[in-house]
């Protein structure tokens, strides 16, 4: 045969080209900042991370998880066998039969990919992604036919040189996509970058069921702060951006996108890729940032991101609700990237929009975002007869009051919680005026200097006293205390259990230290606060508490880890980027659609946002308030 050399040569050449592309791509990532990664452990852990952690997320869409297992698994197996059978020419019928089986598996998967692409949902990117199922089918069919002689099904030389030539053209077409495209920026890039991203992930704690949600502290006092240019990201963050499959699950859950604010997490990640690879977003074929036309963004590794690549409004639209991160099958960290870029805008440019500058100035000068007198922090508790840590020095429970102390609506929650603690005879004390803002808002607005100052001073105060448990009604303060204060080298919280009040109250109810009557009101639904649920994994305690009152929670469609944000996180109400709708209104529509008369909440920020929706609407109450109204009055004996 004259052309027998052609298929192996093509396979070889494309493998070499893919190798060159891989090195090129790696060099793009290496332009990022250094970050310590355990390479070997990561690589060894990668298969398990893929098969277990990643698959766990993909499996939320059963159709897609099965399709991907068949297609991806079939392809990887087939490609390995292709190298042996067709490149090295190993003559083994078992191998050939195995290859045929892998190709059939892949073909079946590819059919389902094809089916999904017939009428794709708007969240999926189109463009080159539309041609992927065809490439997959071409690959499986071509190599199937090519392998038939090796398996002994067809005699060698069937079809003559014409078939060989036709197959060679098809090999070129499909392998261009599957191998060349993998490392030179085609849709298959996700397999290559994704695998390495899983291996070298910046938050390895997330794998194996763990949780890592606290932001990484910014290094202060350097020549610049935050991320200005794509190369200011850590190298493995750049790698993470490259892993995106453009499935748009993030887009589907993003509250800012739904509200018509100029943010789309998928586009943001693609813009980051444009940034570090250089070029424009003209080839992007997914949904745009609402109200922003695609095609005008230009980026380069050393170009300031907000000068032409993305608008700062996009960054400030994020509520840091983490819905995108939770939903991302590739475990990309959108929120980290957004806050990194916000740090540059705030710490270097002084461009925090709208009320941001004023709030930060207040936090710095008065330790609370609204500029109230620090000496009035404990006024809310004038009639509560609470012990001050300053006086008692130690207590079983330290109640972290948070800035709700200054807000009359939040004070109702605080009072309710205090009443419950008193009913259960808890030895509790508060810090009083010694307590400062937790720094949550400052940090999400990018001012890590203010956050770190608050964190260190709060830790210094906490270290003066002894307590076993710290409880707060504010999930934002809870998150800071539990997940972010640990980075500042203090022993103040060592061995201390940090709890949200719902968790704490749930224990009291289980220990029967609280006597509660059955709730006889109407239908109740529960809104999971982002910083309690997705950030800290507490979905059960609030529901158990409601169940203990005999309430059968009418769940919203978006609840638990898929809960929709109220719009109050990440300083979003302060930066207030205009959209078409308000996030809180959309959330209230979710509540209304359950037919509930009351929505139970576990966060003062959510309470404020949801109560800001115009009436008529269901009543908004914190769980502590609902419990306190059911507190059984003690019978005087």
């Amino acid at each position: 045969m004259i052309l027998d050399w052609l298929p192996p040569t093509l396979i070889g050449v494309l493998l070499v080209l893919a190798g060159i592309g891989a090195i090129r791509r790696m060099n793009l990532w290496r332009a990022g900042q250094a970050e310590k990664v355990d390479f070997l452990a990561g690589l060894f852990a990668m298969p398990k991370r893929y098969l277990h952690d990643l698959h766990h997320v993909v499996e939320r869409d059963k159709y897609m998880s099965r399709t991907h297992v068949a297609t991806g698994g079939g392809f990887v197996l087939a490609m390995v066998l292709v190298v042996f059978v067709h490149l090295f020419g190993v003559k083994n019928e078992i191998l050939a039969w195995a290859l045929l089986a892998a190709l059939v598996l892949m073909f079946c998967g590819a059919l389902f990919v094809y089916k999904r692409r017939m009428n794709p949902p708007s969240r999926l990117s189109k463009g080159p992604w539309m041609r992927l199922p065809k490439s997959l089918l071409t690959f499986s069919i071509t190599f199937f036919v090519l392998t038939l002689p090796a398996a002994g099904i067809l005699p060698e030389g069937t079809g003559g040189w014409i078939l060989t030539l036709v197959l060679s053209v098809l090999i070129l077409m499909s392998l261009s996509e599957m191998l060349f495209g993998m490392t030179w920026g085609g849709p298959m890039k996700h397999a290559f970058a994704g695998a390495l991203h899983l291996a070298f992930h910046r938050r390895p704690e997330r794998f194996g069921g763990g949780r890592s949600t606290g932001l990484k502290p910014a290094a202060l006092g350097e020549a610049s702060h935050g991320v200005a240019k794509p190369t200011d990201f850590k190298w493995n963050q750049l790698l993470g951006f490259d892993a995106c499959v453009q499935c748009g699950r993030c887009e589907a859950v993003c509250p800012a996108f739904a509200a018509g604010q100029p943010l789309n997490p998928k586009k943001l990640i693609q813009d980051m890729v444009v940034g570090f690879a250089g070029g424009t977003d003209k080839k992007y074929a997914g949904s745009a940032y609402p109200g922003v036309e695609v095609g005008n963004a230009k980026g380069a590794p050393d170009q300031i991101i907000t000068n032409g690549l993305i608008s700062s409004d996009t960054l400030w639209s994020c509520t840091t609700c983490r819905a995108c991160v939770e939903e991302c099958p590739m475990m990309i960290e959108h929120v980290d990237a957004i806050v990194d870029m916000r740090r540059f805008l705030t710490l270097e440019k002084g461009e925090t929009p709208n009320k941001g500058a004023q709030v930060l100035e207040n936090i710095i000068a008065t330790d609370n975002p609204n500029g109230y007198s620090p000496a009035s922090r404990t006024h809310w508790a004038a009639d509560q007869n609470l012990n001050l840590m300053k006086d008692v020095k130690q207590a079983d429970v330290l109640f972290w009051v948070s800035d709700g102390a200054f807000d009359m609506r939040s004070q109702r929650i605080l009072r309710a919680f205090v009443k419950l603690m008193k009913a259960a005879n808890i030895d509790v004390a508060i810090l009083g005026d010694e307590e400062l803002d937790s720094g949550d808002v400052a940090r999400r607005l990018g001012d890590d200097a203010a956050f770190q100052s608050l964190a260190k001073r709060n830790l210094a105060t906490l270290s003066k006293y002894s307590f076993k448990t710290i409880v707060t009604t504010d999930p934002h303060a809870f998150h800071c205390l539990k997940n972010e204060y640990g980075d500042f080298g203090s022993d103040a919280l060592k061995g201390v259990e940090v709890l949200h009040h719902t968790t704490f109250l749930n224990r009291l109810v289980k220990e029967e230290r609280l006597q509660l009557d059955t709730f006889k009101g109407g239908k109740v639904t529960y809104h999971d606060p982002c910083y309690l649920g997705r950030y800290n994994g507490e979905y059960e305690a609030p529901r158990e508490l409601l169940a203990s009152l005999g309430i059968d929670v009418a769940e919203m469609e978006r609840s638990g880890y898929r809960s929709r944000c109220c719009g109050g996180g990440g300083g979003a109400p302060i930066t207030d980027i205009p959209g078409e709708r308000r996030i809180a209104d959309m959330r209230m529509e979710d509540v209304v659609s359950t037919g509930a008369e009351m929505v139970a909440v576990g966060c003062q920020q959510c309470t404020a946002m949801l109560e800001g929706v115009v009436e008529p609407r269901p009543v908004v109450k914190d769980i502590a308030e609902i419990l306190v109204s059911q507190l059984a009055e003690e019978v005087n004996s």
Partner: protein
């Protein structure tokens, strides 16, 4: 703006009204903002006092490359060093707040500077419109959002009213990196101050406002207006003696002189 107008903004350490903590003073911040708007390149920001004061970094964070400090001890007098500094500088426009938020807070500093330098003083500026041919067109802030346009020859000193543009956000990074030029000047002790007894200020009693308004619009006006002396009148054509008499009568009426 024509290039090369040498602007000097004087800044002090402010005091937050609620927390009493040091901060960038409200009006001084506006003086820096106005200076940055006039000419970012030829703006000199000067502080007479402690060079270690962290608040200076908050001013620098507005985008200043450097900030000049005339070191003074806590009991120092800012006036003589500032006069000396301004005499030797090529300053054409000096901007200050109306009064400091801490210390004596008498609001006298700009007047004393103007007196000693022999420069005109323009009080409560809202905006500087143009500077050309050795003169500046300045908008003065009057109550109820009124403005008066005046023309003043260079060099001059202006105090910046709260009506001027708000100070821009201060950024941590540039503030941290700005160059603090600490000049070698002698600290002059304020002898007069040493003999004073200082006690905490109490809020001044307010004159009761009798609302005589009949319509909602009038009430709105009464509620939002800055208190103004009711019977003011503009005297332009009268003789100097008549004008002096009018001032004297007013002082008697207000019981300033008895």
């Amino acid at each position: 703006m024509p290039p090369k107008v040498n602007v000097v903004s004087l800044v002090s350490v402010g005091r937050h009204p609620q927390s009493g903590r040091s901060r960038r003073a409200e009006q001084d911040g506006r003086a820096v903002e106005l200076g940055l708007k006039l000419s970012k390149k030829s703006l000199t920001v000067v502080h007479a006092g402690d060079s270690q004061e962290p608040v200076l970094r908050q001013y620098a964070g507005m985008g200043l490359d450097s900030l000049t400090v005339l070191p003074q001890a806590a009991d120092g007098d800012a006036l003589p060093v500032l006069v000396e500094f301004l005499k030797n500088s090529k300053a054409q426009v000096v901007l200050t707040g109306v009064r400091a938020e801490s210390g004596e807070s008498s609001g006298m500093l700009p007047y004393l500077l103007a007196e000693q330098l022999g420069w005109p003083l323009v009080p409560r500026v809202a905006e500087i419109l143009t500077i050309k041919e050795g003169a500046a067109e300045v908008l003065l802030a009057l109550p109820r959002g009124q403005r008066r346009s005046v023309i003043v020859s260079l060099p001059f000193i202006a105090t910046v009213d709260n009506a001027a543009a708000e100070a821009r956000q201060t950024a941590f990074g540039p503030g941290l990196r700005a160059d603090l030029k600490v000049l070698n000047v002698e600290s002059v002790t304020d002898d007069a101050m040493a003999t004073w007894q200082i006690s905490a200020a109490k809020p001044r009693p307010k004159r009761l406002k009798v609302v005589k308004a009949k319509t909602a619009a009038d009430r709105m006006k009464a509620a939002t207006a800055k208190p103004v002396g009711g019977g003011g009148k503009v005297m332009k054509n009268e003789t100097a003696a008549e004008k002096a008499q009018a001032i004297f009568d007013l002082l008697l009426e207000e019981k300033v002189v008895r």
